[in-house]
């Protein structure tokens, strides 16, 4: 009951503030792939793994009065900023369960640019493929973003470091 909402609140409490819906989407996806207990269903979209369920859950948390959403204009587009409000913070503290290891991973991801998290999440989406196949896939599905070999290697190393952080 309400557990999945509380997990998202716990994550936001750890993060403090997340800027950008895309970033939030990728952070939850990566956390899920790291075996943190998130249940949101993801599909691959134009910009990488995306969960409609998460989008709606965030909206629900805003409507329930636990989450603060601030909309700002950035070069002609809307960008959203998320943080728990006082009620949400109380709620997460009273009913949320601690998720061991989550805080450090979340804070680290939150410091990364969205472009990098998009790459990391895309790599993790194809985790059943070999490393060579994943790299080939990234170049195909993310052709427009023109990720360099260095960025891709950095993303693989980052995934390793997240796994260590988690443990």
């Amino acid at each position: 009951m309400f557990d999945d909402h509380l997990k998202i609140m716990t994550m936001l409490k750890e993060a403090g503030e997340v800027v950008g819906r895309k970033k939030l989407q990728k952070m939850v996806f990566i956390a899920k792939k790291l075996s943190f207990p998130f249940q949101e269903k993801y599909q691959f979209h134009f910009y990488g793994p995306y969960s409609e369920e998460l989008t709606l859950r965030i909206e629900e948390l805003c409507n329930l009065g636990f989450l603060q959403e601030e909309k700002e204009k950035v070069s002609g587009y809307s960008q959203y900023r998320y943080m728990l409000n006082e009620e949400g913070d109380k709620m997460a503290s009273s009913f949320g369960k601690e998720i061991p290891g989550l805080g450090q991973c979340v804070r680290s991801m939150n410091e990364q640019p969205s472009r990098f998290l998009e790459l990391v999440s895309t790599i993790m989406y194809f985790d059943k493929l070999t490393k060579e196949q994943v790299i080939e896939k990234v170049h195909i599905v993310k052709a427009k973003l023109k990720y360099s070999d260095e960025e891709i290697q950095e993303a693989f190393s980052y995934i390793e470091s997240l796994m260590q952080m988690k443990n």
Partner: protein
């Protein structure tokens, strides 16, 4: 070497209540429809438990899949000869359209949530694994099945091809809105599909709509909005879905606790153990599930038998709009005090628990919006041009309900506890 597949000597047609006729000219498509994996979709309802609210909603994923194929086929005809469209992708797109739901399980929404499986993974496995579907697709080339799976998974390099099957205005959505409206009998799911198809144009990044067709798209968005509130989010359907998911949870929990069922669990065992094979999965359909629900009505476990009787006889849970979180916690305690297991009899259900979405333009790079093509070649996002769509985009899209068995509450012996529960639920 196998004979390559070409055109049928004579076109085949299926009568269809939504599109009148579904036309099949390609041998490949005809053979795919005849496979056991595709025929299985006749035994999986398109709308899961919705038939308990709208009794006409018995249509299957089979008829929806044929509908998506037919819409895509018509789009191919419109794109034929246009610069941005590569006709060599035609059979790939048609195969993906036909097979996009082939991995759906019985009552798949609850089923996937409870057992942690994903129909998209099963779709890929059916297309690329040792199946009849795969053996037909391979006649088009060894890598053809993987290409079809990539289109369905949205990881195929040609974004235009992907957008025909999965975008905010795609063949899948257009068919299910029209079909679901037809079979539920509601009057608000209709829109002018002929007009939309006529104004679709291919671009490198996906389909765009000529701005002269904006009003037809507005109608489509309105239909989508109304269908969500009137059909997909219907609280009675959600009550049936809540009970269905509790049945599956209970059966799984009992199995894990070593409970001995009266009847053998042949079809469920590997699922409960978490090692379901593709063959086991293909054998599951809604007939099989309901067979077990019938049997479980007579199980010794009172919770399982009660939930199954409710589902089979449509004795659903009542609901109220969500009460505060602290009240829910209080209710939890009171239910336990009264001997009613809240895990199975006090369920909160949110709109995010449902597999449907509204149109939203979103934030840059969140997901692809619907784009309009202006006469001067400029591309504009739909809600920036349409007041109607902009108005809907800002509306509330969330809903929370609390489900409970009202007659079991009425039957509680402890009057004090009963009254406290009712005071919270009906305040």
């Amino acid at each position: 070497m196998a004979k390559p597949l070409g055109q049928l000597h004579e076109e085949k047609v299926f009568k269809d209540p939504v599109h009148r006729y579904i036309h099949v000219r390609d041998e490949l498509i005809w053979k795919l429809i005849g496979t056991r994996e595709f025929q299985r979709l006749r035994r999986v309802r398109q709308l899961g438990t919705t038939y308990l609210t709208f009794h006409g909603a018995e249509h299957s994923r089979f008829s929806h899949s044929l509908g998506v194929y037919e819409i895509t086929r018509r789009i191919m005809d419109i794109f034929h000869g246009r610069d941005q469209w590569d006709d060599s992708e035609r059979l790939l797109v048609l195969s993906a359209a036909l097979l996009h739901d082939v991995g759906h399980g019985p009552f798949s929404h609850s089923f996937e949530k409870v057992f942690g499986v994903d129909h998209e993974e099963f779709s890929r496995d059916i297309i690329t694994g040792d199946t009849e579907v795969n053996s037909i697709l391979r006649l088009m080339g060894d890598d053809f099945p993987h290409k079809v799976a990539d289109v369905i998974a949205k990881t195929y390099p040609n974004k235009l091809v992907v957008s025909l099957i999965s975008s905010q205005i795609d063949a899948d959505r257009m068919d299910y809105l029209l079909r679901d409206a037809y079979f539920t009998g509601v009057s608000y799911g209709n829109f002018d599909i002929e007009r939309i198809l006529r104004v679709m144009r291919p671009t490198e990044d996906g389909v765009v709509i000529k701005s002269s067709g904006m009003h037809a798209v507005e109608d489509y968005i309105m239909s989508r909005y109304q269908m969500y509130w009137q059909v997909y989010f219907h609280p009675v359907t959600r009550s049936a879905e809540v009970i269905l998911s509790r049945i599956l949870h209970r059966a799984k929990e009992l199995y894990e606790d070593g409970y001995v069922f009266r009847e053998s669990l042949t079809h469920f065992e590997s699922l409960f153990k978490g090692n379901i094979s593709l063959e086991d999965y293909i054998r599951l359909d809604e007939g099989v599930m309901q067979h077990y629900f019938l049997l479980w009505q007579d199980e010794r476990d009172e919770i399982l038998s009660d939930l199954c009787r409710r589902f089979m006889n449509r004795k659903l849970f009542k609901y109220v709009d969500m009460v505060s979180i602290s009240d829910i916690h209080e209710l939890y305690k009171l239910f336990e005090e009264a001997g009613l297991n809240p895990k199975y009899y006090l369920i909160m259900d949110s709109s995010s628990d449902l597999p449907y979405d509204f149109y939203r333009p979103g934030e840059k790079e969140e997901r692809l919006p619907i784009n309009l093509l202006k006469p001067n070649g400029e591309i504009r996002e739909l809600s920036r041009e349409s007041d109607v769509v902009e108005a809907i985009s800002g509306k509330r899209r969330t809903d929370h309900k609390l489900y409970f068995p009202s007659e079991l509450i009425e039957a509680m012996d402890d009057e004090n506890v009963k009254q406290k529960i009712k005071n919270i639920l009906y305040k």
